[in-house]
Structure formats: structure tokens, C-alpha cells
Symmetry: C2
Subunit: 364 residues, 2 copies
């Protein structure tokens, strides 16, 4: 088998598959000429598309998949489609034929299948979905974006460790600052779960990078490089922010078509406005990543175009080339070792005063 970085691709996932997928792969190959692709999908449709991109065809191994997972299929039903393009692409990662998988298909199905087929990394209780959002001080990593509707303190700590490594790999930050999303910055704010997670992080090997609690407005302000939260809050926050940006985009279009002078005004400010639009372009933030699995798993937005899909491919390549999972393992072992040492010390302490320990247990 080749030692070149290899990605397994769901050729049939998303609103504009397979055309956009193949066009996106072609862009991705220009940026990563060393990459190899295992492309899964309907051979009859993919063969002519690949034929238009001879270089891509050489870098790609096409494998027929007889089934496609519809966008609205429940994850449990998706499990039964064993010949689906998404399933076969994930299977290829499990078999060691590829280091990662990229799909623009059904998010719930990808999450469920990847968890079941690839399984979580040793030491990770639950995988998380991470993404990147724009801020006043550069890009910000957010997680979890919806893989876990409910989380405990331990899950949040794992998310912080994974977010730290993800920010170092994809944003290239040597020491990302990490914030825990809450309803206030004061230590007494939020629930027990958040206070516990903050306590653990404050005494962990990443304590120097842990900023403490942040609030909703800190995301766009870029107060920290990583924002850690449960999947419910993260999903709502990300979509709320995206919605607000989209609303402003619509309103600005109205502003600049409201009158002739406004139209001329737009033309005069065009180059700066275009730079702003490019910077906020949702395609630049395409590619939510499932962290904590044995293999790289990247979800592209279902409605994206070729450029957006290529960006999701970039994220997957970054993670494969930087041995993302190896670094998660290292990061995690440090935090868990610190926590275990602390637990042991507490146990020793408890053993010295058995009566007090008994009382403490009853109280907890």
C-alpha cells in the first residue's frame, strides 16, 4: 500500500453530488499534488466526470457503491445501507486503506456510522464535532457543534484537549487560548458541570492556555482561539451567529441597491467590501470535523460548491499530514495523567482519615 496521504471520499453525498464532489477534488489535488483519493459512488456517473480531469483520474481509485444515503434518512436506518458510498468510504478508513474520510452527505448518518465503524480513540468518551468561525482577532475553533446534546464535565475537558490540538494543527497557533462557554465570566456562573470542568482544566497541563469562562459575544470578539461547549449550546450559537451574518449580508445588498447614489457608493467601496465578503464567505469555514475517532472524519456542508468542498478537503489533509490523532493521544494522556495523579492523592488522603472520608462520601 502507498505511504502517500490517502482520503476516502463519499462521491454521492450532498445536494450537488457527484458533480461538485469531483470538481472539488480536482481543486484539492492542485493544492495537495501528493494526495491520493479513494472515491466511492455510482461508477456510471463518476467515470465520465473523472474523465474530464485526467490528473485527478490518475490520483483517484474509483470504487462502485450501489447505494446512497438520502439526506433525510434517520441514522439508525442508514446503518442498514452497507453498500452506501458514505459507509464504504468510512469502512476504507477502518481497514487502513485511507487515513480520513470526507462527505457532504447526511450529518447524523456520518456521525453515527463513523462512531460505530471507527470507534473512539483510547481515553475519549465521546467524539465531538468542531468547526471554525470568523472573529475580530482571527479564526476561532468551536466545539461541540452538535454531536452530543448533553455533556458532563469530563466530556467538556476532553473537548478542550481536542480543541487545543485542532487549533494548533489547523490554525497553526503555537499556544491557543481556550475558553469555556458560559452565561458569565465570573467563577460562580453556570452549572456544576461547567464549574467542575473549569476546575479540572485549571490544574491540567493546558492550564496556562485555559482562559476560563467566556460568553456568547466573546466568540465574534475572538477573546479566545478555542470555545468549548456542549453540543446543544454550540449548535445553537454557531447557527445564531451564521444567521446574524446572513441577515446583515441581505440588508447590505438592500442598502446598496436602494438608490442610484448608493449603487455608485458600492462601486467606489467595492474592493474593500469584496474583501469583507470573501473573509466572511461561508465556504471558507466549510468542513466540520469529527474529533476523537480512529481516523479523520470531515463533514462538508451539503449545499456547498466545488470551492467549499475543496476547503473541507484542505481541513482533512491538514489533519492527516499533522498526525492529528497522534497529537490528541499525547495531549489527552497529559491531562488524564494529571487528573489520575490528583485522584490518587485524594484517595491516599482519604485513606489517612477514614471517618472523614465516609462523611464526605455520604455528603456527595
Amino acid at each position: 500500500m502507498s505511504t502517500a496521504p490517502t482520503l476516502a471520499i463519499d462521491g454521492m453525498g450532498g445536494d450537488h453530488a457527484p458533480e461538485v464532489i469531483v470538481a472539488g477534488l480536482s481543486i484539492a489535488l492542485e493544492r495537495h499534488p501528493e494526495a491520493l483519493f479513494l472515491l466511492f459512488g455510482d461508477e456510471a456517473r463518476l467515470t465520465p466526470l473523472l474523465a474530464r480531469h485526467p490528473r485527478l483520474a490518475r490520483a483517484t481509485t474509483l470504487r462502485h457503491a450501489a447505494e446512497v444515503i438520502p439526506g433525510d434518512l434517520k441514522p439508525t436506518a442508514a446503518l442498514r445501507l452497507r453498500q452506501a458510498s458514505m459507509r464504504l468510504a468510512i469502512d476504507a478508513v477502518a481497514a487502513g486503506e485511507a487515513q480520513g474520510v470526507v462527505s457532504a452527505g447526511n450529518t447524523g448518518a456520518l456521525l453515527t456510522l463513523a462512531k460505530i465503524v471507527l470507534k473512539t480513540l483510547p481515553g475519549i468518551d465521546r467524539p465531538a464535532m468542531a468547526g471554525i468561525a470568523p472573529s475580530a482577532r482571527g479564526d476561532v475553533v468551536m466545539l461541540d457543534l452538535g454531536a452530543n446534546v448533553q455533556c458532563d464535565a469530563r466530556n467538556l475537558v476532553e473537548f478542550a484537549v481536542m480543541g487545543d490540538v485542532f487549533a494548533r494543527v489547523t490554525l497553526g497557533l503555537p499556544a491557543p487560548r481556550i475558553g469555556l462557554l458560559n452565561v458569565g465570566a465570573e467563577e460562580m456562573k453556570g452549572d456544576e458541570r461547567l464549574r467542575q470542568a473549569a476546575e479540572i482544566l485549571k490544574e491540567s497541563p493546558i492550564a496556562a492556555r485555559f482562559h476560563g469562562f467566556v460568553e456568547g459575544h466573546d466568540i465574534a470578539a475572538g477573546t479566545t482561539d478555542v470555545v468549548v461547549t456542549d453540543g446543544f449550546t454550540g449548535n445553537v450559537a454557531l447557527k445564531t451567529g451564521e444567521g446574524a451574518l446572513k441577515l446583515i449580508g441581505q440588508l447590505l445588498r438592500q442598502v446598496f441597491t436602494a438608490s442610484v447614489s448608493a449603487r455608485i457608493g458600492y462601486l467606489l467601496a467595492k474592493s474593500s467590501l469584496e474583501r469583507l465578503r470573501e473573509w466572511l464567505d461561508p465556504r471558507r469555514y466549510n468542513g466540520a470535523v469529527m474529533l476523537g475517532l480512529n481516523g479523520v472524519v470531515v463533514k462538508s456542508h451539503g449545499g456547498t460548491d466545488a470551492e467549499g468542498f475543496a476547503h473541507a478537503m484542505d481541513v482533512a489533509m491538514d489533519m492527516v499530514l499533522h498526525n492529528f490523532n497522534e497529537r490528541i493521544r499525547e495531549g489527552l494522556s497529559g491531562v488524564l495523567a494529571a487528573q489520575t495523579a490528583k485522584d490518587e492523592a485524594a484517595k491516599d488522603e482519604a485513606a489517612k482519615k477514614p471517618a472523614a472520608a465516609g462523611l464526605a462520601d455520604a455528603g456527595g
Copy 2:
């Protein structure tokens, strides 16, 4: 005692008190010439300020308050300051001297004091904090914004009822559409608590106005007129949206100062851009409201100016003039009656088949 609408005012709360408070009251009186104010605070500082506004001075009864609750004081500590301007203003509502209270002071203290002094309306388990946000289809009522970090299904149903009445009173909508914030619009999304709340609302007297689940991006899209959620998620969503809008504002300022042609472009599009800026002006959305208490309680942003404080006064006046709490009581009794009837029917049903009911209990 007068039958004119009377509001009790915390003259010392907020970053720019008491100057901004008095200036704000003066604007509010122009809009509501029939209103009377009970103003609490430092007599030595307030008397000369009132002297500058003779009409306001005639509509206002000044009462000395020896203490002020600092912005960073813990709510439990605020309870001990019985001569504080905020406390005395709330006491005046409890005593029936005023129908509502407006404060720009410490949010946590206002929440705690109002809950303890005024107590919840009959049938309301927990008060909620509501606010108004801009959307593509007009203003949207959001609640809870942080009064309750954790909520159960019953709390969410109460919030929906209160949000419905609030949207009718403050936005003047005859039949507001109500959405329950979730991570997806499908019925199986979210947790048990959300699914239960949706079930109750679907069979309630406001069922025709209940739209079902909405997502984060639906807030700015204006999919529904009311967005119901728990205080943790609501607080994060509101601040995330505000943060995104603020970021765009900063970036647009950069765009229009980037070059001479961009500056001229700004001047040409100025009138439309100004309208957009006014529409998004945070002062227009100033005034978070505590719903579900025996009395109207409005929190102004601490950093607001006179115009913003006057807007918070408008919200309080709207609620007093439209007998907000009376309408909450009516709305609530309808929903609770429907729920009670359903519970009774279920009980009757269960009584008919005792064995099956026993099994169901064991399973639950």
C-alpha cells in the same frame, strides 16, 4: 392614590447614573405625558438634576435611598442592602405604589430581589427574562435570556405562554408565531424535555400559533415571532448574535475608511447605511423584561444612554398600560386547564385498566 400609570425608578443603577436616568425619564415623559414616577436615590444628587427638567420634576416624587447596589455585588449580598435605591423601588411595587420598576443596575441583584420581594404570579413556577432582537421579518421576542440556567418542560411551556402575551403587547401582533429553540427542526431532535414541551404546546389553546422547533439561524431569519429556550442557551444565543452584529459594524467602519474612494462611497450610500445602523441600534432593543412576577420589572442595559433608558421605560409603560400580568394569567389558565383536563382524562383511562397502568408506572 393616583390611578395614573406609575413606575418606580432605580435612580442610581447603571454606569452613567444618575444623570442618564434623569435625562431618560425626561424623554420618557414626553412620550407618556400621563405617567408618574417614583424616583429612588441620593437626594443630594438627584434634586439638582430634576431641577433642570421642571415638567419631569412635577411628575416625579423623589424618595431618598441611602445605599446603592454595586454592579459586581453578588445577589445574596445585595439582599442585605435594604435601603438601596433598587430595593426601595421594588418595594414600592410590592406595596402597590407603582405598577412597575425600571433599573439599569446589577442584573443578578434585580432578578433575585424582584423574585423574593414581588414573588411569582399564581401558576408560574419560575420567572423568565425576555428581550427583543432584530430579524429579517421584524422584531423577535426571545426568552429566557438567563434567569434560569436549567429548565424543565413545564418551565418552557410557561415561557411560551408569557412570550406569546409579551409579543402581542409589545410588538402588537394579533397572533404571534411561537418556536421552541432546538438543534434541528425534526420532531426527534433534542432532549426529552424539549419533546415533552412541544407535545404539551401542540395540544394547548395556543397550538395554532405554535410553529414547532426552530434552529439558531431562524432567530435572525424571523421564522417565528417568539423564540422559547432555557436561560443558558438563550443567554448564549443572544450574546452570540449581538457579538456577530458588532463585529460586522466594526468591519464596515474599516471598509469605509480603507481608501478615499471608499470614503466617498460611504457618503453616497450614507442615508441607507444610516437607516440600517438605526435599525440595528442596540438602544432600540434595550430593556430586558422579567416576566411572571407580581409587577412589571424592566432591566435597562447598564451602559446605555438617555435614549436607551427611555426605550426601557417605553417597554415598561407598554406592559403596564396593556395589563400585561392580567393577560398572562388568562393565557396561562387556558394552557393549564387544557393540560389538567388531559391529565384527568389520562387518570380516568388509567383507572379503567389498573394492571396496565401499573406496568406503565414501572416502565417510566
